[in-house]
Amino acid sequence: MVTTIRGVCESLPVKLTSVKFQTYDIGVGAAGLLLDMMNGETVLSNKIIVLQPELVVRQSSYPS
C-alpha cells in the first residue's frame, strides 16, 4: 500500500496487527478448575494452564 499523507488520512481506519489472547478460554479454564476444587477434586496449588496467544497480521504491518 503506497499512499500520500492525505491518502492515509482518507484511508483511515487501517487495522492494526495484533496479538490475540484466548480470553474466553482463560475464563472457561479457570471456571473448570474452580468447579473441580469446589467438587472436592484435588487440584494442585501449583497447577498452571498456559494459553498461547496468536499473532493476527493486519494492514499496519503487511510486509512492504
Binding site: M1, V2, T3, T4, I5, G7, V8, C9, S11, L12, P13, V14, K15, L16, T17, S18, V19, F21, Q22, T23, Y24, D25, I26, G27, V28, G29, A30, A31, G32, L33, L34, L35, M37, M38, N39, G40, V43, L44, S45, N46, K47, I48, I49, V50, L51, Q52, P53, L55, V57, Q59, S60, S61, Y62, P63, S64
Partner: protein, 314 residues
C-alpha cells in the same frame, strides 16, 4: 443445544427440590422412573444425577442404585432456601482488555452448572479488591476467580482467611506472590516475541516497545521483545523502550510515543502493550508524520490486544 442445557437445568432444580424432601440414605427412584416423572430424556436425568453426586447431594452404591446423601441434607438444613452456590469473579474492569472474554467464559461454565456469579471490578486497586474480598468472605462465597489488582499493597491476610474457610481460589492472568492457588495465564512472553519477530521479518531495524508501567505482565512482554531482538542479533536500544509512568495516565501511549519520536532515534516499528497505548501512540505518530510531511518516515504500529486503528504510509 441451548434447549438441552435449559431443560437439563430445570430437571436438576426439580431433582434438588425432591431430594430435599427425602431422608438421608433413602434410595432415589430409578433413572427410568425419573425420566418418566419429569418427562425428560434418560441422558438428561443421568447428567443431572451425576452432577448431584459430584455436588454431594447423592451418592451411588455399586449395583444397588443412588441414595440421598446425609451430609448434604444436614448442611442444607441451615442453608438459605436456595441451595445454589455462588462464586465470585474479581477483575480490574469488565469493559476492557481481556476481561470481557474472561467473564463470558466463566459465566458460560457457571451457568451450565447452575452457579451464581458475583462480578466485582477493582479498577486494579488493591484497596477496592480488599473491600470485595471482605464481602466475599462475609457472603460465604463458594469459590473465587480473581485477576489480581496491581496498584497498591495486597493484604495477604484476606487470602489466608479464604484459605481457612476452605474457599477455593483460581488466579487468572497473574498470581499473587505468597498465595498458592492454581492459575490460568496467557503466554505473554511468547505473544511479544512473535509480534516483534514478525516486525523484524518485515525488515524493521529499530523497533520500539511502549509499555504500561513495570509489573509482571509488562516484564514478561518486555522479555519477549528482548528475546526476539537477541535472536536476530539486534542490539537493545534503551531509548526505544518506554514504560508509562503511571497506570492512569490521561493519554495512554500518546505522551510516550511523542517522547519516543522526539528522542532522536526513529523507530521503524512499534510494539505497543495494548489497545489503549496503540491508539495513543498512533495519534502521536500520526501527528509526527504530518509534521514531517516531506519526510520519508514510515511507521509501523503494532497493537497488542484488540481492535484499535492504525495507519501506515510510505
Amino acid at each position: 443445544m441451548e434447549e438441552y442445557g435449559y431443560r437439563y437445568m430445570e430437571v436438576k432444580h426439580k431433582l434438588i427440590e425432591q431430594i430435599k424432601l427425602l431422608e438421608p440414605h433413602v434410595r432415589l427412584p430409578s433413572r427410568n422412573a425419573l425420566a418418566k416423572q419429569y418427562n425428560a430424556a434418560r441422558t438428561t436425568i443421568e447428567r443431572s444425577i451425576s452432577e448431584l453426586i459430584g455436588e454431594g447431594y447423592l451418592y451411588a452404591k455399586d449395583g444397588s442404585g443412588t441414595y440421598v446423601s446425609g451430609e448434604r441434607a444436614a448442611s442444607a438444613a441451615h442453608m438459605p432456601r436456595s441451595a445454589f452456590r455462588s462464586v465470585g469473579l474479581i477483575i480490574p474492569d469488565i469493559r476492557h482488555d481481556t476481561y470481557p472474554g474472561i467473564l463470558r467464559g466463566v459465566e458460560d461454565i457457571m451457568n451450565r452448572h447452575d452457579i451464581n456469579l458475583v462480578i466485582c471490578n477493582t479498577d486494579n486497586q488493591t484497596e477496592k479488591q480488599a473491600g470485595y474480598l471482605n464481602k466475599m468472605i462475609d457472603l460465604g462465597i463458594h469459590g473465587l476467580i480473581i485477576v489480581p489488582a496491581i496498584i497498591g499493597h495486597t493484604d495477604l491476610n484476606l487470602f489466608g482467611k479464604l484459605r481457612d474457610a476452605g474457599t477455593p481460589i483460581v488466579f487468572c492472568n497473574r498470581g499473587i506472590e505468597g498465595v498458592e492457588a492454581p492459575k490460568v495465564v496467557s503466554n505473554n512472553f511468547y505473544g511479544a516475541y512473535a509480534a516483534v519477530k514478525h516486525l523484524i521479518g518485515n525488515g524493521c531495524k529499530n523497533i520500539a516497545y511502549i509499555s504500561r508501567p513495570a509489573y509482571s505482565t509488562s516484564y514478561e512482554r518486555y522479555q519477549g521483545y528482548t528475546s526476539a531482538l537477541a535472536e536476530a542479533g539486534m542490539n537493545l536500544d534503551d531509548r526505544l523502550v518506554l514504560f508509562e509512568p503511571t497506570f492512569d495516565t490521561e493519554r495512554p501511549g500518546y505522551d510516550s510515543a511523542t517522547q519516543l519520536l522526539e528522542s532522536g532515534v526513529t523507530p521503524d516499528g512499534i510494539f505497543c502493550f495494548n489497545d489503549g497505548i496503540a491508539k495513543g501512540g498512533l495519534r502521536s505518530a500520526w501527528r509526527e508524520r504530518v509534521d514531517r510531511r516531506q519526510g520519508r518516515s514510515r511507521r509501523w504500529l503494532r497493537q497488542y490486544g484488540g481492535f484499535a486503528r492504525a495507519c501506515r504510509s510510505s
